[in-house]
């Protein structure tokens, strides 16, 4: 059942954390970017580090829901002063490679993945990184086409894929 005294004690600890400038600024930054709504915190225009945002996320999981998508699609929102934490880097790698991702600090993949298409360029997923080994002949052809067409290598590969796809339509 409910213990009012205990509830008040625990809640007062949470309240102290939520009045911490790191929490207030993080939420304010997200409110200013129209990614979060708050009934108590106003928009904040100053700088907020990713480390502070991750810290604030302990007290409000909705912040954590947004972080992977922000780092991928709205990179300038939070300042990056230290290398990415391993768990966040693993989630981002998974998204970029189109692989299955793990729960991020208690937030299920379906909850943070929904923001990847909604944040930044709407409806656009980040491009996927794929690695292939080319033969010398492939590279020679690619260079020749690059010099002849002034297209970038990736544009040549995309065009070739599109042509191959058109030719093999059922």
């Amino acid at each position: 059942m409910i213990s009012n005294r205990k509830t008040k004690n625990v809640f007062s600890k949470v309240s102290i954390s939520k009045s911490d400038p790191r929490f207030v600024r993080t939420v304010g930054k997200l409110v200013g970017a129209r990614l979060l709504e708050s009934t108590t915190i106003k928009p904040f225009k100053g700088n907020v580090t990713l480390q502070d945002a991750l810290w604030a996320g302990q007290f409000e999981p909705r912040i954590l829901e947004l972080i992977p998508a922000i780092v991928l699609k709205k990179r300038n929102l939070f300042q990056l002063k230290e290398p990415l934490p391993e768990d966040l880097a693993a989630v981002l790698q998974g998204i970029i490679h189109g692989e299955e991702t793990k729960t991020f600090r208690g937030v299920a993949p379906r909850l943070y993945l929904q923001w990847v298409e909604r944040i930044g360029h709407k409806g656009k997923s980040p491009s996927l990184l794929k690695t292939y080994r080319f033969s010398n002949e492939d590279v020679r052809l690619l260079n020749e086409l690059k010099n002849r067409t002034t297209l970038k290598e990736i544009e040549i590969i995309r065009t070739a894929l599109e042509l191959f796809h058109q030719q093999n339509r059922s």
Binding site: F11, K18, E60, P61
Partner: protein, 161 residues
């Protein structure tokens, strides 16, 4: 914001229905929208420190055409219709308060106590702060009755890192 949006949606339906009549096609029938989750709490003006992402939890019996227009109107406010709204569990006895009444739509807000019980039972980790805040303010008799009925163990909420 939400009342204005429902008014815009209702106006759009009246206009669309006039065109449908002209073309001899069936009109859009009256429907309801139930606002749930964090959006219902914010719109109810309950005095809690609430944080919400830009997705809106709603349940409706509206048709596809109306749903698309609703999504378009929400996107003007940088908001999204939550794709999982149909999966939101609400207590079966949930009371809804009339929030907006138009010619074609009636919108209701789920009463705060039921929303909080739904959150406490189905997503305690995500919502423990708001539950603690509400309980520390002095919960209503209705909330306590529901908490007892649904056997909510508040020990889980005290376990804050």
């Amino acid at each position: 914001m939400l009342k204005k949006l429902f008014k815009d949606l209702d106006n759009w339906i009246q206009k669309t229905n006039k065109e449908l009549v002209k073309e001899g096609l069936p009109t859009i029938k009256p429907f309801y929208i139930k606002v749930l989750g964090q959006t219902a709490l914010i719109e109810s003006k309950i005095k809690l420190s609430l944080f919400s992402t830009m997705d809106v939890d709603m349940y409706s019996d509206c048709n596809y055409l109306v749903k698309k227009e609703l999504e378009r109107l929400l996107s003007k406010h940088k908001k999204f219709l939550d794709g999982f709204s149909n999966e939101i569990w609400m207590p079966k006895e949930t009371e809804y308060e009339l929030f907006y009444e138009g010619k074609s739509l009636k919108a209701y807000l789920a009463k705060a106590e039921y929303v909080l019980i739904s959150k406490a039972l189905k997503a305690p980790e995500k919502n423990k702060n708001v539950i603690l805040e509400y309980v520390s303010m002095g919960p209503s008799e209705l909330f306590l009755k529901l908490a007892k009925k649904y056997k909510i163990d508040f020990k889980d909420f005290y376990d804050i890192k």
